[in-house]
Assembly symmetry: C2
Homo-oligomer: 372 residues x 2
């Protein structure tokens, strides 16, 4: 304590948090092992499952928790439109009604929305309870289940509410992908394409060469994708857990992507919007003179094989620009882009991995993509 004419100052020290780690267990047909392994990991914890009607219908909830398991909140309707603070309130009310205490473990069984919403509910329930992520879609397995980002959207923007809350474990069960509908399956693979583009040219080459097996959902291909995705995502978030620098590369394709996803009223799936955003980011890099036309061409070719849309349809330019300015990645109201220098290599942009792009280039790129 220090006293002077200005008054007294007391310093409060916040000790460093300990290093921690969690396992991502990858395989096929893992669901039935989860309750037992969770009890070993967290002895005495009470499991509460968050899932949605699609997962229940596909039999995955029963495969994991057994028939008649009752400590469940099923998100209704499934999908992005339920990624709201009201859904979080519903989950927390349900846990409170059943008197779940700090000894709760939340099991998040589902796609990106389930993981984001359940992870955020776990992050803020009684100041934080543990969460096991069990992603069941291509997008969630590749991306959202690992790394501790959780959150929900507001009326104005994506992830306006959120927290960093690392899972205590992740299970990637490739068998759950077999019940996924084709459009969701394909859109989710865009995150895998993104991983190759930002970090691993060889992995991108694997996808170019094995797209038939990937689209046929062959076990070998699915396991290879899961392993590469988790290794890449795990490496990035371990280096930069709070997105101060390197982790921003995972936002590749997301600057335009988030905006058009939101403005489509979620008619566009996340991966579809990111595909458009990836093409946009490629074109921005070309316009700045830092990106190669060959990278753009290879990206478009792979994304076309996935059958995802690559053009903006029916959304005007002004609202896109406006939404981009309000994005959490924007600084001082100006949007920023993650850009590639080459296939598998991002532009570090002085360590910030986010390039401020002149307004005329953004404008021209949006026009070229088809924005009205």
């Amino acid at each position: 304590m220090e006293r002077n004419m200005e008054g007294t100052t007391v310093n409060v020290t916040v000790p460093a948090g300990a290093q921690a780690s969690y396992e991502v267990r990858i395989g096929s047909g893992l669901l039935g092992r989860i309750p037992g392994e969770t009890a070993e990991l967290l002895p005495g914890a009470r499991p509460f499952v968050v899932t949605d009607a699609n997962l229940e219908k596909a039999g995955h909830l029963a495969a994991m928790a057994g028939d008649g398991f009752e400590d469940v909140y099923s998100i209704d309707p499934p999908g992005e439109s339920s990624k709201t603070i009201e859904t979080v309130e519903g989950i927390i009310d349900a846990m409170e009604q059943k008197r779940f205490g700090r000894d709760t473990v939340v099991l998040a069984l589902g796609g990106g929305t389930v993981g984001d919403v359940a992870g955020f509910a776990a992050a803020i329930y009684k100041r934080g309870v543990p969460c096991v992520q069990i992603p069941t879609t291509t997008v969630a397995q590749a991306d959202s289940a690992i790394g501790g980002k959780t959150g929900v959207d507001s009326k104005l923007s994506k992830n306006a509410y959120g927290a960093f809350h690392n899972p205590v474990r992740v299970y990637v069960d490739c068998a759950t992908l077999r019940t996924l509908d084709d459009r969701d399956y394909r859109a989710g693979l865009v995150e895998s394409v993104k991983h190759g583009m930002i970090m691993d040219a060889e992995y991108f080459g694997y996808m170019e060469a094995h797209m038939d097996g990937i689209l046929a959902r062959d076990d070998a291909a699915l396991l290879h994708l899961a392993e590469r995705n988790c290794a890449i995502k795990g490496r990035v978030v371990a280096e930069d857990p709070k997105e101060k620098g390197l982790r921003r590369i995972l936002n590749y394709g997301h600057t335009i992507g988030h905006a058009v996803e939101s403005l489509s009223g979620y008619a566009l799936l996340h991966g579809e919007a990111v595909a458009i955003g990836i093409v946009g980011a490629c074109r921005v890099a070309e316009a700045l003179g830092s990106g190669a036309a060959e990278v753009t061409a290879r990206a478009k070719a792979v994304l076309e094989k996935l059958g995802v849309p690559l053009r903006i349809e029916g959304i005007a330019k002004e609202p896109i620009l406006d939404t981009m300015r309000r994005d959490k990645k924007s600084v001082g109201g100006r949007a920023r882009f993650v850009l590639l220098k080459n296939m598998g290599e991002t532009d570090p942009a002085g360590g910030g991995y986010a390039v401020e792009v002149p307004a005329d280039i953004v404008d021209a790129t949006l026009s070229e993509l088809g924005a009205g």
Copy 2:
């Protein structure tokens, strides 16, 4: 990466967070310095103020931010009944409408409700923005503004929603206490009494000896209290920021206190409820044979001078027991108590600082306190 018959396991490492520290600046008439000092602390950050109508009326908002400052959310009505997720949504909507990004700094000017709500909004806005706490009540200055606990209540329990989010700075301006109404002023001093009882018998003795000066709001007494409170609270939270052990002593008096506060529909102020809880905890310790009757007598004498209620009026025993079981401090549905071994010294209870008390003793204590 490790591959075997069960599948592959990828380990994700979460690096240790860095040690951090923040200053608590204590004095009289500090408010006008805050905007400039915040700009020095966080260059380029955009300040957004959360406060309430009482603070505006008392002139404290203008004293801090100047007349006509517009980036303000004023909590309405002031007080515990607004400590809800809906208020947090209102704050976040207001920040979004004004396009506040990750470069926001939230200035929480007010009592415990303002600090808890604004701190929680800062914790979850775009996955966390910094917050400066400027507590203006005895309870907030002594307790809630330091240590990073933030949160709001649900219909069923206190702080059902919450996060640990340390402030980047705290200002304790004793001059703001002069405009506080007498009941709030006295109730908030219960937290100071609590600090003496759990950590510092000499400080408790100071309050016994100087109660007249304290109640007259003498500058010297107020500054002494602020310094002792911040030093005690700062020491406890530095040792145990996430309430795994020692920090639980700050919940002294809160097991019964939280329950009766909530069941009174917040007719009881937090400090008043804690005063009842302190007397309850003293009696529980006596019944267990670990606490001295002299400690109970001294506590009651000081609390009586404060003029706070020491008996439960018009609340039945069953709902109190039920609420205690649902408390976040409960484990397996059983309530736990922080107990004193002696004045200034808590029972570490094996390092957990929370004693499971037989149901019959809890029951008898509630009857003795007047629960119907």
